[in-house]
């Protein structure tokens, strides 16, 4: 009996142990997902996203395998892969979590020439019209769902456009009224802008030129004419990729900067460009959205994060993909990092060369040009909770948002944004002292100061009688003491004089 019980216990223990091992060994290392704390140190976090599946040429049933695909685009439940090496666009349809191959677009009926030559980007508008940046044919073609040509956007004949350069469109976005914004190779004046009817209307959002006083002095006084001709001229750098949000603002990423520019946020690797071309990205965190804050000295992929693509979710949360270390960085509309995950490698969930990112709802697609694969990420409960909490706050449901943030904290006690979220909702409920506590834990000075002012007001109003009494006492008591001393001295003086006389 005893032995039986003992074996049963052993068995149960063994089962528990294997379960524990199985739970720990699910292919995700503990440092796959992380975030930065107030001091800029990496804090491991639960996974916000996990790989749902990986789409390869074979899983899609393609006859010719994809070759160096450069871009993705997603609209509704359609995913478009720009298969650059094979001069075609692949349409993939998602139904009930399954991906099936749709059309393969490799020609435009009515265009001259009909086929593509290294297309590098694709965009599809609400009506199903497809725009393709046909790089080596020096054009952007717009076609309807039946692949009939609707419009061609070609090299501007305007004088502002340097005619000696060939027109190589690289990335395109189209706004709701059909204006086309083109990021073209070799053009550093910003994005090329076309009206819907194909007329060129100028450039927008050029990268500002960096020119320090020292550069100026060095160039003017310490270099000869010949040397100056040899040196790189000061020109704005080109953007790396662009993306348009639902309000029509263009998010652009920039990868040409030196490490030192990141220190004081001069590099601005992510920008939100408005209609007049200035950067209006909100940065309310201690650290600007620059991806990794530090990197391991001497490692193979040393260097700052280089965002090769960016996508903006419907709730204004933006996600950028870093090519240096194959990571994805999510930021909320305030510029606070939500999570970061990913790595380089051949494993599932790792990338060799991540070049493009797209989203359907909260699901993410990342294109790897070397593996010719699309990794599909779906949010975990934890990831969904973060989204739910920020959506609830945006909608004005502060209490609901605080409850969701509390659930987030149960999974990740290092999550600063959760403390701020709870604090903000407590402040709305006029629980200032508790709010202060939460803001203090998140090192949120502005909000703490705000809560403290209300708190101080309440405390002062409650104890105003005491405060007045103490101040009065401090003023009056010395006065009385002085008068008494003076009187006593006078009396003594009088006494002494009387004795003398």
């Amino acid at each position: 009996m005893n032995i039986k019980r003992f074996t049963a216990l052993l068995l149960a223990l063994g089962l528990l142990l294997t379960a524990a091992v199985a739970a720990a060994d699910d292919g995700y290392t503990s440092s796959y997902t992380y975030n930065y704390d107030y001091w800029g140190e990496i804090r491991e976090s639960p996974d916000a996203y996990r790989v749902d599946q990986v789409l390869y040429s074979t899983t899609l049933g393609l006859e010719t395998a994809m070759r160096r695909p450069q871009s993705l685009y997603a609209r509704d439940n359609h995913l478009y892969i720009c298969d650059t090496g094979n001069n075609r666009i692949i349409e993939v349809i998602r139904e009930n979590g399954q991906f099936t191959l749709g059309r393969i677009v490799d020609r435009v009926i009515g265009a001259e020439p009909e086929t593509f030559n290294t297309p590098s980007d694709v965009f599809v508008d609400e009506n199903g019209n497809m725009y393709v940046a046909d790089t080596n044919n020096n054009r952007i073609v717009m076609m309807d769902a039946g692949q009939n040509l609707l419009q061609t956007y070609v090299k501007p004949s305007d004088t502002t456009f340097d005619q000696s350069l060939s027109f190589l469109p690289d990335k395109i976005v189209v706004d709701s009224s059909g204006r086309v914004f083109v990021l073209a190779t070799n053009i550093n004046k910003g994005l090329v802008k076309y009206e819907a009817d194909g007329t060129f209307t100028g450039f927008i959002g050029a990268n500002p030129v960096k020119y320090t006083m020292w550069d100026y002095i060095w160039k003017s006084f310490f270099t000869t004419k010949e040397q100056r001709a040899q040196q790189a001229s000061f020109v704005p750098t080109e953007y790396e990729n662009i993306c348009i949000d639902k309000e029509g603002f263009i998010y652009a990423t920039n990868v040409v900067f030196s490490e030192y520019d990141l220190l004081w946020d001069n590099a601005k690797p992510i920008r939100r460009i408005n209609s007049i071309g200035s950067d209006i990205l909100v940065k309310n965190d201690r650290y600007p959205p620059i991806g990794d804050l530090s990197w391991v000295e001497g490692s193979l992929d040393y260097g700052p994060s280089k965002f090769y693509d960016i996508t903006v979710l419907d709730n204004d949360i933006y996600i950028a993909v870093d090519h240096t270390r194959g990571r994805l960085f999510g930021y909320d509309p305030q510029g606070i990092m939500l999570w970061a995950f990913g790595t380089k490698g051949n494993n599932t969930g790792a990338f060799l060369s991540a070049v493009s990112i797209e989203h359907m709802g909260y699901d993410l697609f990342v294109l790897d040009e070397n593996e010719s694969s699309v990794t599909v990420f779906t949010p975990t409960d934890y990831g969904n909770m973060i989204y739910r909490a920020s959506n609830e706050y945006l909608k004005g449901d502060y209490e609901g948002s605080a409850d969701t943030w509390r659930q987030v904290l149960k999974l990740n006690a290092n999550y600063n944004l959760a403390f701020i979220g709870i604090g903000r909702s407590l402040m709305r409920q006029e629980q200032y002292e508790e709010a202060m506590e939460y803001f203090k834990m998140a090192h949120d000075r502005e909000n703490y100061g705000r809560a403290y002012r209300y708190y101080r007001k309440i405390v002062v109003e409650r104890n105003i009688g005491w405060i007045v009494a103490i101040v009065a006492a401090l003023l009056i008591v010395p006065l009385i003491v002085r008068t008494v001393k003076k009187m006593r001295a006078e009396v003594e003086e009088y006494d002494r004089q009387r004795i003398v006389t």
């Binding site: 000075r445 703490y448 705000r450 403290y452 002012r453």
Partner: protein, 226 residues
Amino acid sequence: MTVNELSLNDSRPAQTGWQRYLATLRYGLYVILHPFDGFWDLVHEKRGSLAAAHTFLVLFLLTRVLKLMYTNFQFISAPLQYINIYEQCASLLFPFLVLCLANWALSTLFDGKGRFKDIYMAMCYALVPYILIQLPLILISNFISFDEASYYTVLMSVSIIWCLFLAFVGLMQVHDYSPGKTIIFIFFTIFGALVILFLILVFFSLLSDAIGYFVSLYREIVFRLY
């Protein structure tokens, strides 16, 4: 008070050691408000004491540590988990002493009148505004909000500027210099401090080389003997 009055006070009947210490401490208040008279008398009329100077220096270090620990987080971002009190104190004390030393060493070249003791004393007395302003400021920081940070910053800047001004006047009076000469002298002092740092570095690297040499010699002999 004028100089005459002060010297009259000085000729009062003999003070006990403790009374004199308190008097020299209180004299710190006079110095910061009347720096020109104050620093002159501090050295030439023996109105200050080394004990008081030490006290000010210790209080300065204490203020610094308390400031890191108890200033409200809205106004300071001190990663307390990484801060080492001894390191903090050393990082203030070491430059302070090196600058005093460089100043003293160069005063011979510049025809300065001050002895090391005088320089040290003047510099310590110049720290008094820092203590007087920053200590209450720690308390105040816990009763104001982030929007009122300007009051905090202004007071902090005042304390530092006041200290720098006192140090300047102190050097001028101790060495009996003109203001222009003092400015030049300060530049040379900073340069001298750098030279001292360099010498210290060289000394320690040579020392470690020398020790390394004897250690390897010992090892070699031990290996041969076995």
